[in-house]
């Protein structure tokens, strides 16, 4: 009978690069920047790390993508790719490994270098298949959720075009307070609303997050050894990962107002972490706001809002920095930006900063529980990851 590993692993140091168009940096530069911030944070030497979990979606291949750049000395490096959940999944696997007792100190790293490709957005998948499926851009995939949500809950077009820009506005505002964010400008709501359509009828360019370069990492050990490194580690309460069976894609019962993978991951993660009322027990949440409509629907899948009510909660400011449940306090994918393989760890990094009072102008008042959620693939067939983190044991 599985007992879970709640509170059995702890983070003792984290690093995260500035995200953005890092034309000044190669992959090695990004790795050194994040890894060395984490090592200094934890106060340990690089060679004290026993094993590495390295995630990137399509920046490079295999463990050598890490080892040849950081010169790790013949230690295990596992490369993981799991769409946008890559960063969460390296963290998850690193935690499991250290929990077994096989290793004492491990590192989870996520890296993505997208701006060297010459594409303003998106990335190709070098997979051989018959290519008869329609080539949907990512905004189009998630844009399909908007008419369904509006239709099911009777939200008018004009109301939707109030709600979605409001989410973008919030995340840009939060990002303006984050020195590592790609976009550091507060953007007036009117300007957001006037942005050109990219996945009509609901999503404009300002409803999309930006792809970027970036790297983030975490150093993890077992809770009982964490005290050797620092008095204030961050405890891992629960980790969940779901990969969908394409039921939503192939079965008519799916109505495009939910992302089942996320909802299932949330239910299971809350159970593991002992969370019964996410709205009040969670201090901050970093969620996968690849598009504003995604964030809207996630509020309901993560049980932050009742079904059909999230759009009202957005307008009431529930998820603002000063709201009841602040979401994407670091600017989220929207403003901090989205280096795919690094994003999961970037989300965890925000809890790390908030728990240590290091979040600067966006610092919350004594947060205790942080949630990081990301999803990858398509709303109807994808992966979702949830990591719940605590400032305290228990």
């Amino acid at each position: 009978m599985a007992t879970g590993i709640k509170d059995r692993t702890a983070v003792i140091g984290m690093g995260c690069t500035k995200f953005g168009e890092r034309y000044d940096c190669g992959k090695e530069d990004l790795l050194v920047e994040a890894v060395h911030e984490a090592l200094e944070d934890a106060g340990i030497e690089f060679n004290a790390i026993d094993a590495f979990w390295f995630g990137t979606m399509n920046t490079d291949y295999a463990g050598t993508a890490f080892s040849q750049r950081l010169k790790s000395q013949y230690k295990p490096v596992t490369r993981i790719e799991n769409f946008c959940c890559t960063g969460s999944d390296v963290f998850r696997n690193a935690c499991y490994a250290v929990a077994t007792g096989e290793f004492d100190v491990v590192m989870a790293i996520g890296l993505e270098k997208l701006k060297d490709s010459g594409m303003s957005g998106g990335f190709g998948f070098p997979i051989d298949y018959d290519r008869t499926e329609p080539e949907l851009s990512a905004p189009a995939m998630f844009g399909m959720l908007a008419p369904a949500y509006a239709g099911k809950y009777g939200v008018t077009y004009d109301q939707m075009r109030e709600v979605l820009p409001r989410i973008a506005y919030k995340n840009h505002y939060n990002g303006s307070l984050n020195p590592k964010a790609m976009f550091r400008q507060e953007i007036p709501l009117d300007q957001i609303k006037k942005s050109p359509m990219i996945a009509a009828p609901y999503l404009t360019i300002m409803d999309c997050s930006g792809v970027s370069d970036g790297c983030a990492c975490a150093i993890i050990t077992r809770t009982e050894t964490a005290q050797r490194f620092r008095k204030d580690p961050m405890y891992v309460k629960a980790m969940e990962l779901t990969a969908g069976p394409a039921h939503s894609q192939m079965h008519q019962s799916y109505d495009f107002t939910t992302i089942v993978e996320t909802n299932q991951a949330a239910e299971r993660a809350y159970k593991k972490a002992g969370i019964t009322d996410p709205r009040t027990q969670i201090s901050l949440a970093e969620v996968h706001d690849c598009f504003t409509i995604t964030e809207l629907i996630l509020y309901e899948d993560l049980l932050f809002s009742e079904r059909g009510q999230a759009w009202k909660d957005v307008l009431e400011g529930r998820f603002d920095l000063k709201g009841e449940l602040p979401v994407n306090t670091d600017g989220g994918l929207k403003a901090f930006a989205h280096p795919v393989g690094a994003s999961g760890l970037r989300m965890i990094y925000e809890s790390w900063l908030q728990f240590h009072g290091r979040a600067g102008k966006r610092q919350l008042d004594d947060p205790k529980i942080g949630l990081a959620h990301n999803l990858g693939g398509m709303p109807w067939c994808g992966v979702a990851a949830i990591t719940i983190l605590g400032k305290e044991l228990g």
């Binding site: 051989d128 008869t132 949907l136 189009a140 959720l145 369904a148 239709g151 609901y202 894609q249 008519q252």
Partner: protein
């Protein structure tokens, strides 16, 4: 008795008002509209559309041969009749052949199919064309796109072949050499006086003599005309009245090349009654003349879309620049998107039934219809309990949609829809030949066979949705 047992037509939804061409070059052009194949249509897809109309109510297994006729085959080397056969879900053991390179390719295929029908081989002929004239030339304005299809058999004949007469002369009227994109021609008076009029006259006189019929015996003369003026003049010279000569569709479709006379023939069959005789005459390096007599069986043919309904089903909104783009006659700035790789041919071939005839599967354990076909049921997880299940012909409704301005497209935005089919099953696909304002959740759609893209010389064809009409 051998003859036609079924027919179908196809005219693409998009029409270019010839005024647009006149405006582009600042000089007068002929009036009316030309039918323009969408960016994802070609002579093959239009032929499939006509063939599917032709096959309404017919068990595909009864069709034992497929001939494709065109002057604009998507491939210089590789048969396309096999592609049509697969899209129609015919059996593998059919005869297949392409008839190409001549305006007379359609009638050549029809004559061959009639020979096959007399030998008991029920054969479908699909004729489609999408020819290009160089910019600012008469052909650019005159040419239009379209397709027609006929089944030839010896039972259930709706129009019996009474006789035929063929003339074959090597003559340069219109031609394209190996690397030519646009149709070339000699000075037209030479062609009209030395080829068109004498060849057609010779064929018509020949078949009239063989059958003992006179012009007055015919309901319609369906004869090729490079221009309506030439066509009308020749009809009069041959002794046919203006009411007998078929509209060559120059104002509504344009000159559809090898498909021109076949389309006119479909229009004539739509209007014909039992006992009517129709004289079909093609032209190009000679002439084929075929005499048909319509039978009582025509009244039992299930309703279908012929030429008349397609002439009304149209959008005349495209401009000349869009036409140039669709025919890839101007170079566009490439999207800053990853290159689209070619289809994996092994994967495309493994998915043969899915890709050509739009098959999914249905689980024998739980009854769920699903697309794409899979071995493990998405609903009950039963393994290898699947039966083939064809989605083509099932009613579909739009569940949700999006207009994608980012995806690579020759007609942005790409319209992506999720379609739920009556009886179960869901599919993600593009929606084409639609007006953006009219798209809504719950709208009815039908499926249409289209050209998705070309990479490394491989044309990838698959199905898209279009509003039900």
């Amino acid at each position: 008795m051998a003859g036609i047992t079924a027919f179908g037509g196809y005219v693409p939804y998009n029409r270019l008002d010839r005024k647009q061409i006149g405006q582009a070059f600042g000089k007068p052009v002929s009036t009316g509209e030309k039918a323009v194949a969408n960016y994802d249509e070609d002579s093959l897809t239009m032929s499939v559309a006509a063939a599917l109309e032709c096959c309404r109510g017919i068990d595909p297994k009864t069709v034992r041969g497929v001939y494709f006729a065109t002057t604009t085959s998507p491939y210089k080397e590789k048969q396309c009749a096999t592609n049509i056969a697969a899209a129609l879900d015919l059996e593998r053991n059919v005869r297949a052949a392409d008839f190409t390179d001549s305006l007379r390719a359609g009638s050549a295929a029809m004559l061959a199919a009639l020979d096959a029908a007399r030998n008991g081989v029920t054969t479908l002929v699909a004729v489609g064309d999408s020819r290009l004239g160089a910019a600012d030339g008469a052909y650019e304005a005159d040419f239009g796109d379209g397709a027609a299809a006929f089944i030839f058999g010896s039972t259930g004949v709706i129009a019996e072949l009474l006789d035929s007469y063929s003339v074959a002369v090597d003559f340069h009227d219109q031609w394209r050499a190996e690397n030519d994109t646009f149709v070339r021609n000699w000075e037209d008076r030479f062609s009209v006086t030395q080829a068109y009029e004498p060849f057609v006259t010779e064929a018509v006189r020949g078949v009239l003599q063989k059958t003992g019929l006179k012009p007055g015996d015919f309901f319609k003369l369906v004869h090729y005309g490079a221009t309506p003026r030439n066509q009308a003049a020749l009809a009069a010279k041959l002794g046919f009245g203006p009411e007998q000569a078929s509209d060559c569709l120059s104002k509504t479709v344009g000159n559809a090349g090898a498909a021109s006379v076949p389309l006119m023939f479909v229009a004539a069959l739509e209007d014909a009654r039992p006992g009517d005789k129709i004289l079909l005459v093609t032209y190009g390096e000679g002439s084929d003349a075929l005499v048909f007599e319509v039978t009582e069986a025509i009244s039992q043919l299930p309703p279908r879309r012929g030429v008349r309904s397609y002439l009304e089903h149209k959008r005349v909104a495209i401009n000349y620049e869009k036409y140039l783009r669709w025919r890839e006659l101007i170079t566009f700035e490439p999207a800053k998107r990853p290159d689209q790789p070619r289809s994996s041919l092994p994967d495309y071939y493994r998915n043969y039934k899915k890709n050509y005839a739009l098959y999914g599967c249905q689980c024998k354990a739980c009854g769920t219809a699903q697309f794409p076909p899979t071995r493990v049921c998405v609903q009950c997880q039963a393994v290898d309990q699947m039966e083939p299940y064809r989605f083509y012909g099932k009613r579909g409704k739009v569940v949700t949609f999006v207009f994608d301005y980012l995806a690579l497209s020759a007609d942005p935005p790409n319209v992506d829809v999720v379609v739920d089919f009556e009886g179960g099953g869901r599919m993600f696909c593009n929606l084409v030949d639609c007006d953006l304002q009219s798209i809504k959740v719950g709208m009815d759609i039908e499926m249409t066979y289209r050209h998705l893209f070309t990479a490394d010389g491989i044309h990838t064809y698959f199905w898209k949705a279009t509003p039900q009409w």
